[in-house]
Amino acid sequence: MIPASFDYIAAKSLDEAISLLAKHKDDAKVLAGGHSLLPAMKLRLMQPKVLIDLGRIRDLSYIKEDGGLIRIGAMTTHFQVEISDLLRRSCPLLPETASHLGDMQVRNKGTIGGSLAHSDPAADWPASILALDAELVATSAKGDRVIKATDFFVEMLTTSLQPGEILREIRIPSGKSKPAQAYVKVRHPASGFAVVGVAVNLSIDGGKCQSAAIGITGVSPKAYRASKVESALKGNALDAKTLSAACAHAAAAVDVNSDLYASAEYRKQLATVYTRRAIEIAAGRAK
């Protein structure tokens, strides 16, 4: 499997990448780690005439915390997220998600920004990014544009990134000392993608759930916030009755995917069960 011919340009800076993208427009694709784009090009599902490689732009790869925000450079690899002490301490949901993603080699090369911009409906990151109320920073010749995670995923393989824009940073509000977070996943046995992936980010105080943010991937054409589950948890103790009533809404109001591996009915059931498991794990971690 060999991609169709293209020109390859290794951008030396983000500014250069932006001007190359402005010049080549729709003929160009931006190459991050390549673990979504190159497979698609090998299958000739995508045939860009120009590839603009961000791989040599060192200052797009970082994880830092300042001013109440965790900032992750778009070219940070899944592995760098997985082993980050800063994230393990202040946002363990991200390293946990990374550890479920693909396999060791894929995590070594694939990037968080590349995966998000590709927006595969069964990718792991979207669930966590949604549950963390992240913001995504897109940049172009016009400057930066900040996009809320809930506005970022438009449909299958489509984000709200505009022509000429490059995703450069992911921002996550930091704060809570002991975050009640969890990511659980039904892994497709062949591809490793999420048949269902649930990310939970809770705030629990006085035995009651003060706030809940739940992102679900793999279930529908785009990852979504399970807002009905969230509102059913809020203000309540997380007992069995509350959980089973709340989690029944895990796949409410979305079109549920159906394929050879999992029918829509089965997927919906998995979403219900795994949402409950994720909440229980997250709540257990808050103790």
């Binding site: 293209f6 020109d7 390549g34 590839l51 396999d103 080699q105 090369k109």
Partner: protein, 161 residues
């Protein structure tokens, strides 16, 4: 438009003019004639093409040779040092970590990375680390034993030093 790349593979620096669409695995096998790295699924699932690029195990079927410009690559041919097999290679030999051998080069490169990062892994950690490498012969049991054997060898070596 062709592109000139310079890649150091197993200690030798090569300069070649390549087409941008040339995959790293094709560059290694067809341009450099290092055929120890295998092409399996070609879809970044099986891990047979695993090599180290700048110290990171990657699937060379899912990387362009152009992306490796300026990098240091280690393939299975470059793992043995001074005529002595790498402990992981030895482990595979002693514990019969293969039958047909197709997955073995990638399996060994991935195992080397696992031990580099975690010198004392549990069986479970080895299995998690090898998730991206498929073997259709062994059922993985002997492979895990081979990696454990290598871990012990590498530990006793570092203690001796």
């Amino acid at each position: 438009m062709k592109k000139t790349i310079s890649v150091t593979v197993n200690g030798v620096t090569h300069q070649n003019e390549i087409e941008p669409r040339l995959l790293l695995v094709q560059y290694i096998r067809d341009v450099l004639n290092l055929t120890g790295t295998h092409v399996g699924c070609e879809t970044s699932l099986c891990g047979a093409c695993t090599v180290m690029v700048d110290g990171q195990a990657v699937k060379s079927c899912t990387m362009l040779a152009a992306q490796a410009d300026g990098s240091t690559v280690t393939t299975i041919e470059g793992l043995a040092q001074g005529g002595e097999l790498h402990p992981v290679q030895n482990g595979f030999w002693e514990h019969h970590g293969l039958q047909c051998g197709y997955c073995t080069p990638g399996m060994i490169m991935a195992a080397a990375q696992i031990l580099q990062r975690n010198p004392d892994p549990t069986d479970e950690e080895i299995r998690h680390g090898l998730e991206g490498n498929l073997c259709r012969c062994t059922g993985y049991q002997n492979i895990v034993q081979a990696v454990q054997c290598a871990a012990k060898k590498m530990k006793s070596k570092s203690v001796a030093r």
